[in-house]
Symmetry: C2
Subunit: 340 residues, 2 copies
């Protein structure tokens, strides 16, 4: 069932999952296309982004934002085209990075729009990856929290994912040693041969701590935490004096799961190694930094200095399974859903 100009397909949250989302977590509905009031516009979804944070939003209650309501449309970043505008700042045909969620059409008053894109851009979906939230996350965590210095060692897990692939290439562009962690030989090969990582360690290895130590002969200066779990256990002993950890995600724990190791080694490492850790949610930083990021990243892309790999899902109907695959680490590159 493709997108049409007469009905709006949307996924709503049917029930809250315990652990991994299942076939009954989301429900596909077909409803009328809404009409924009004065000050609003109608957005048509071209691309939908799938991201790990979505799992958190399926839970009840406030985490860093309120959870999605039962029966409510599932949230998500989109590349959208303005179909009809009653908003003074936008006109029909504008291409924007928006937050329309898992649906064909949505109303917007402009407050959910990050930026206008060039309507003729070759790869609009990049606005959900390298030029959007994940790219901005990579840039902010590396640059503003990591405070990178040439020659330092930077480590990131999910190295070929939406954030990892950009963070690693940015680290290389700034003269750091970039070490990735990824699931499987294919991803590791891609990280090193295509993305330019200095090394990449397979987290399925029988000896992840030993492999990571070998890949980081001078220890770790900056760790970008987006996973948690066993990866963190391997990282912790390798922190150097005055190292930094940017915490942007804990995907290993989003589906629940219990103990993850004792707290004491982390606190003691913080003290003795003078480790700085900083959790961040990238939405806090758009006002201050997004335009600087977008300018820098657009420039790097124009110069061909950043490679982009996407994992494309061809239909909106594929979104639920796509999210599960992402949470299981079965994606290879930034996951985007081609809606229109």
């Amino acid at each position: 069932m493709p997108q049409t100009s007469s009905t709006n397909r949307r996924f709503v949250l049917a029930e809250r999952p315990a652990g991994m989302p299942t076939a009954s977590t989301f429900r596909l509905e077909t409803v009328d296309i809404p009409k924009p009031a004065e000050g609003q516009m109608l957005l048509r979804t071209l691309w939908l982004s799938l991201d790990p944070y979505m799992r958190i939003r399926l839970n009840e209650g406030y985490s860093y934002r309120p959870g999605v309501d039962l029966g409510g449309a599932m949230v998500g970043g989109t590349i959208s085209r303005v179909e009809e505008s009653r908003h003074p700042g936008y006109k029909a045909g504008d291409l924007v990075i928006a937050a329309s969620g898992w649906q064909d059409y949505a109303l917007s008053d402009g407050s959910d729009i990050d930026i206008k894109l060039d309507p003729s851009m070759a790869h609009p979906s990049w606005g959900l990856g390298v030029l959007g939230m994940p790219g901005f996350t990579a840039w902010h965590g590396l640059v503003n929290i990591g405070e990178p210095k040439a020659g330092e060692t930077f480590v990131i897990a999910a190295a070929t994912g939406a954030v990892g692939q950009i963070a690693g290439q940015l680290a290389k562009a700034r003269g750091l040693r970039a070490v990735g962690i990824a699931g499987g030989a294919d991803k590791c090969r891609y990280a090193v041969q295509e993305l330019g990582f200095d090394a990449c360690v397979d987290h399925r290895s029988a000896d992840l701590p030993g492999d990571l130590k070998k890949a980081c002969p001078d220890g770790i200066d900056i760790y970008f935490e987006n996973v948690g779990g066993a990866v963190f256990d391997a990282v912790l002993p390798l922190f150097n004096l005055h190292s930094r950890m940017a915490i942007c995600g804990l995907i290993a724990h989003y589906n629940g799961g219990g103990e993850s190791g004792d707290r004491m080694p982390l606190l003691l490492t913080s003290l003795l190694k003078r480790l700085k850790t900083q959790g961040f949610i990238i939405y806090d930083h758009y006002a201050e930094h997004y335009e600087a990021f977008f300018r820098e990243m657009s420039g790097l892309l124009a110069q061909g200095r950043i490679k982009v790999r996407e994992d494309v899902i061809d239909t909106l109907e594929g979104a639920p399974q796509g999210l599960v695959s992402l949470l299981e680490g079965r994606n290879f590159g930034k996951v985007v859903v081609k809606v229109a």
Copy 2:
């Protein structure tokens, strides 16, 4: 056996303790007073500081500094008078904050001296507390890591201890709500009535988390971590958005002890609350900040705006038991040993 001008009493590390130090951890020796070579001076210890970090230095191997050698003199900060100088920067009679350790006399080439004090100062021992390492620790953790803003809530444990008493008063001077945690009703009463804390919670309470929550109706913006253990468990749920934690000590764990709680809640809090944590060892910051601190604190003391409470041990022989009492939380105020 008092200090004399003919022999040097000193405590050496006799055996490494497993857990709390015991009567056989240290051994008192009497040796000759050393002679300064060119470029050196002979220091006579007037006051010796006892501090929690000393427990770490009893362990073998490197922590943030190497452990004390078996048979070596026990380390420690001192207020010392120059007895004889062959160093161009110092003359006999100078009063200095030094690091002579647990002994009557020591040689120095000046590299262990933090600062010269006014030889006529009324309370030389304050150079080991409010004007020395603990005061500087309080100031740096609150000011440079905590980034305090008037109206925020600041929490510190060991509130009447060497660091806590200064940090709390500094926080009040900057317009924060200061909440202390201390062991017992006497210390809590002192923290509130004498030091000016807004509230103080007894960590021996049957419901520390509940009591702390009541004392922090607006949550916690800055936590000064010097304890760990159950205190940290009570603090963690109360962190506000964009809160900060300065980690300067973990006294609850210095004698060993096992699990301290799962790591995951700390990482998740870091992420969702955008918590910043920063471990620090104050020795890193003397070159950059100590003089600014000393000037500010001297001024506050001159204005009578900072109260100081010391817990004085009258003889060098009392140092080993004094350290045990400190690690057990039985001191009341900054612990100093009157050596001369």
